[in-house]
Symmetry: C2
Subunit: 317 residues, 2 copies
């Protein structure tokens, strides 16, 4: 099964979970193999490690968000997004209703969990905009494990994704939960800063452009399969990763379905918006050029339904 | 927290699980950081990808078994083991007692799960030695997910570790389980071929010898902590990886405790034995030299108790 091909490495943004389903479908159904790619899917135990590992070109492809691309380039890691996996999943401060958090002002005296360094910058900026002194709340780095941290009373609230950590928190505690959406708090008008992107080093773009074209085409085919056959796709994921075969992960999968990008494209409007936000947060310079951060050159122009099967293309190439 | 140091990447042999506890303890308690190492712990979704990724030097350190080192060198991947994590965990064909498998002869007409290509070679060799024709059984590649594969009736039996997959199978099915130990079947007299080793590319040995010394010293310290404070160590693992906080993984942890290598050393006797076995299986040439495959140069000479704290050493370096 393609073991003679050298491996193309893909580093997920966290542990393998339901919103990575299209990638596992593409591998299990042989779409990557038919596109000439022997894909090795790696997980990270710390989301904050991914940018540097892609930035130093130690893996071929990674998953990360827009703000990390801006920050990476500011640190001279030549990272570019080549497409979108998860498009604007609702993100914000999640909490148990019993915590009595109703508006952002209620975080006074509370412990707030954040994912990594930019999450902390965001929380501090939100507080500043809301006129809350930094001495009036505490921040705790919890990675993506905010549901666990709330359920263990390590934090009162923290940043999470609606279709993942909020579902998880409800499941863990059996209590009602709520979310203050960051896009509303920050006046962004969208959750694009949380979109999960396929990122690569510019060196990979220069050296392996055909591989990236084939990768995105196989990924589009796998995404289409996932959207058209959700339950079968989830079964494929679980057969590869049996530890995901639980009610919780099934619920997370169903809740993630609306957010899989259908055309996989980077959205210029979102990059512009997040660029302005990142500049406001001091993560990227004022004179940044969003177009340095992404390219849609590898995303198939046509939707999958009207495309020839990947296998034919791969054979023709 | 050490984020200014470049990351040292470590690729686990599978998903993060209880027998990786010492590595997570070393990271969480700052032992690696004090040794000057900013450790990024990565997981693989396919155990068969690890050898090539270490062999092409895309990660600094990996985890894998002896037979993979022999096979890697035979394929011109310059891999060496620099120490032992898990020492001779009992390994064999696991099954439900209800399957009526009692001796190896009972695999006739059965479906046998194996991990990767060398597992298949081993199963076929065992059958040959036992005079069972290859048409009398079926082999199915199931990776490390043999417990899941048995519980889903994909296979009747398959290769697994006693302290992991056998515990898992019992937990998943609630039935009594059994194991035919491979060491007994193959006349090896030990389960050393299943020991989990810290492996590196020779390039890393040449370029970063101090890092490897510091890594093994911090790892020894973390292993000592794990053995002396098992429940605290398991809590540390679970706080980092909340999805492991289940009765099953706790049981696997307790069952793995006896097999953590205490001195982390490579054992010459085991390498010789596995070398002969690998030659018999055609995985390595008859004239292989086991000493090419490992070095104890980076393992601290003294047991941890009598060593200076890593921090002092790191500061002195």
């Amino acid at each position: 099964m393609g073991t003679s091909l050298p491996r193309t490495t893909l580093l997920l943004n966290w542990y393998a979970n339901p919103y990575h389903t299209p990638i596992f479908v593409g591998k299990a159904l042989g779409y990557y193999e038919q596109a000439g790619i022997n894909l090795a899917i790696l997980e990270t135990t710390d989301p904050s490690d991914v940018t540097e590992i892609v930035g130093t070109n130690r893996v071929d492809i990674g998953l990360k968000a827009m703000v990390h691309c801006y920050a990476a380039r500011d640190r001279n890691y030549p990272i570019k997004s080549i497409g979108t996996l998860l498009d604007e999943p609702p993100t914000g401060l999640i909490f148990l209703k019993s915590s009595n958090i109703k508006t952002f002002a209620d975080v006074k005296g509370k412990r707030i969990g954040y994912v990594g360094e930019f999450g902390k910058i965001m929380v501090d900026d939100l507080a500043k905009q809301a006129g809350i002194a930094s001495s009036d709340y505490e921040t705790v780095r919890v990675g993506m494990n905010v549901a666990d941290a709330i359920s263990r009373d390590i934090v009162d609230t923290g940043i999470g994704i609606g279709c993942f950590q909020q579902v998880e928190l409800e499941h863990l505690t059996g209590e009602e939960t709520g979310m203050l959406r960051i896009d509303e708090l920050a006046g962004l008008g969208c959750c694009c800063f949380c979109s999960v992107l396929y990122i690569v080093n510019e060196k990979t773009i220069a050296e392996k452009p055909e591989m990236l074209t084939n990768f995105m085409q196989a990924t589009q085919r796998a995404t289409a399969y996932t959207l058209e056959n959700p339950e079968k796709a989830f079964d494929i994921l679980c057969n590869k990763m049996p530890r995901l075969k639980t009610d919780l992960y099934h619920k997370i999968f169903i809740n993630s379905l609306p957010y899989f990008s259908r055309d996989l494209k980077n959205v210029a409007r979102d990059w512009n918006k997040v660029g302005r936000y990142a500049a406001q947060l001091g993560i990227t310079p004022e004179d940044h050029d969003p177009e340095n951060c992404y390219t849609n050159a590898f995303v198939p122009e046509q939707a999958y339904a009207s495309m020839p099967p990947v296998s034919e293309t791969a054979q023709a190439a």
